[in-house]
């Protein structure tokens, strides 16, 4: 390998490293959303965790709550469960195994990606989801920014 090629190689590598470091920083902004039509204006992390763990099926104002999850293994999901529910991936899958195999419930339905979650939440005043802060628009309301 010639010296120039090594330098080009190295600089490409450094650039990639810088880009990945930048994206890693930028992607750590999960927010919890409801429809703009929902009367709910804010929730605590504990209240949100109860809804996503199936420990309650209602918002604090007694209206029905329908949680929408993101795919297992996705970065936004890991972010949400670490920050809001304080459970890592394996703790969460052990938790749901217990609920499923005791016949006590099912995990929330999953939609793939912020856009799909936002659309579903916007349409349903009972829905609650989580997306990246940058994906928020006027159809949904942020009720928790952990």
């Amino acid at each position: 390998m010639k010296p120039q090629e090594i330098i080009r190689c190295l600089s490409t590598f450094l650039l990639l490293l810088a880009v990945s470091a930048f994206t890693a920083n930028a992607s750590a902004e999960v927010v919890v959303i409801v429809s703009a039509k929902s009367p709910v204006t804010s929730l605590t992390a504990e209240q949100t965790a109860k809804i996503f763990l199936g420990k309650t099926s209602e918002f604090p104002d007694d209206s029905d709550a329908v949680p929408i999850d993101q795919p297992v293994g996705s970065e936004i999901r890991n972010e949400f469960y670490t920050k809001v529910v304080h459970k890592n991936t394996s703790q969460l899958s052990a938790y749901w195994a217990k609920i499923i195999f005791t016949g006590d419930g099912r995990p929330p339905d999953i939609l793939d990606g912020d856009a799909a979650v936002r659309r579903a939440v916007a349409k349903n005043p009972n829905a609650i989801g989580y997306i990246d802060k940058t994906s928020v628009n006027r159809t949904v309301r942020v009720i928790l920014a952990p």
Binding site: E46, H86, S90, Q91, A94, F101, G103, D104
Partner: protein, 374 residues
């Protein structure tokens, strides 16, 4: 007796399936799943078998140097939601049983009617939620240990009852309260050379969750009788079991402790305390568990020396283990137990040759399991 419950369950399923077409298009929702454990263990006590409960006819190390009978099992689970109010569960488990085979058996088969998401009534074969991990004791993936401490969990070999139960869940301030009641239940427990029948079972079970703290209370009564190998049914004896449990799990670490007082013709108490720390995919843990000798209660004929010896199963154990979540929906666990038999007790060891006395002996057990859910 149990047959009639299956009939009710099957009729319920049929009625709901027949109905399903007229309701919303998303029903019935049917989900399949399963779980299992591959486990092996070795004990240094060659004069008896280290078995998890009284239905398992053999283990290590008297019968086999290394044994898979304690923890190995596979199970299938079907849940069907016929409409928002009616659902059913069928769970079939294959594990080493009294006949010495892995013949699958129906662990649960029940139909649930939910009045709301927070209240239901069930009929059929139902889990008995005596302890904090009773409902899920077969699902190794759901807890940190290789198996729940045997000094406590072994005291109640009955894991399900055929009958009716109800649940009501409500919030008090920040805490969530789940009350379950067994309104009626019966059970038949097969052992290698005998059977144990239970009837007139009822119980009340309460779980309170407040932040990272969970508390559990249970009280249950039933009548039980032993049917010996000749088919002769013994006297019906009242069983009453009271248990309390507390768990604190803020996320990175946990402590859990449970206590049981069991009364039949004798009174026995048992407890354990366990704690662990989660470091990424590893959860090292430590457990201390013990059970007391049985003290004979007044009002029954004075026990013979043989009965006194058989009844005293007092032992204690210190366990060190680690759970490793090495891949999705799968874990590996390793546990070391140091078991100490009390004075005048052969503990829970099975198949001890006649005349062998192991009072006060100490021995070591190592176990390794892989748990999975699918």
């Amino acid at each position: 007796m149990a047959i009639r419950y299956y009939l009710i369950v099957l009729l319920g399923f049929y009625a709901c399936l027949a109905n399903a077409e007229t309701t919303q298009s998303s029903y019935p929702k049917v989900t399949f799943g399963g779980f299992g454990t591959l486990g092996v263990n070795h004990s240094t006590m060659y004069y008896g078998d280290y078995t998890l409960d009284s239905t398992i006819p053999k283990g290590s190390a008297f019968s086999d140097n290394w044994s898979t009978t304690n923890d190995t099992r596979i199970a299938g689970h079907v849940a069907a939601n016929f409409n928002p109010k009616v659902s059913g569960v069928l769970q079939v488990v294959a594990e080493y049983n009294a006949e010495g085979t892995y013949q699958p058996e129906i662990e649960w088969a029940n139909v649930k009617y939910a009045f709301s998401p927070d209240a239901y009534i069930r009929i059929g074969r139902i889990a008995v939620p005596t302890f904090m991990q009773s409902d899920n004791r077969d699902v190794g993936y759901t807890y940190v240990w290789v198996h729940p401490p045997i000094e406590v969990y072994r005291q109640l070999a009955i894991t399900h009852s055929d009958g009716v139960d109800a649940m009501y869940r409500f919030e008090v301030g920040e805490s969530m309260n789940t009350v379950k009641a067994i309104l009626y239940g019966e059970n038949t427990l097969e052992r290698e050379t005998s059977k144990s029948d239970s009837k007139d079972m009822w119980g009340i079970f309460d779980t309170t969750e407040y932040g990272a703290t969970t508390m559990h209370f249970s009280y249950q009564e039933r009548l039980s009788a032993t049917i010996n190998s000749a088919g002769v049914t013994g006297p019906w004896i009242r069983n009453s079991d009271l248990s309390l449990g507390i768990q604190y799990d803020p996320g990175n670490w946990f402590v859990i402790s449970e206590w049981l007082q069991r009364k039949t013709t004798t009174k026995i108490s048992a407890m354990y305390v366990s704690g662990g720390y989660r470091i990424n995919k590893f959860t090292p843990y430590m457990t201390y568990a013990q059970n007391s000798p049985g003290s004979f209660l007044p009002g029954f004929p004075p026990p013979s020396q043989g009965t006194i010896t058989r009844t005293n199963r007092a032992q204690s154990a210190v366990s060190l283990g680690v759970r490793w979540d090495f891949m999705k929906n799968t874990d590996f666990k390793f546990e070391y137990d140091q078991v100490k038999l009390s004075d005048s007790s052969n503990g829970f060891l099975a198949n001890i040759p006649t005349g062998v006395i192991l009072y006060g002996a100490k021995f070591h057990v190592i176990s390794a399991v892989v748990d999975f859910v699918f």
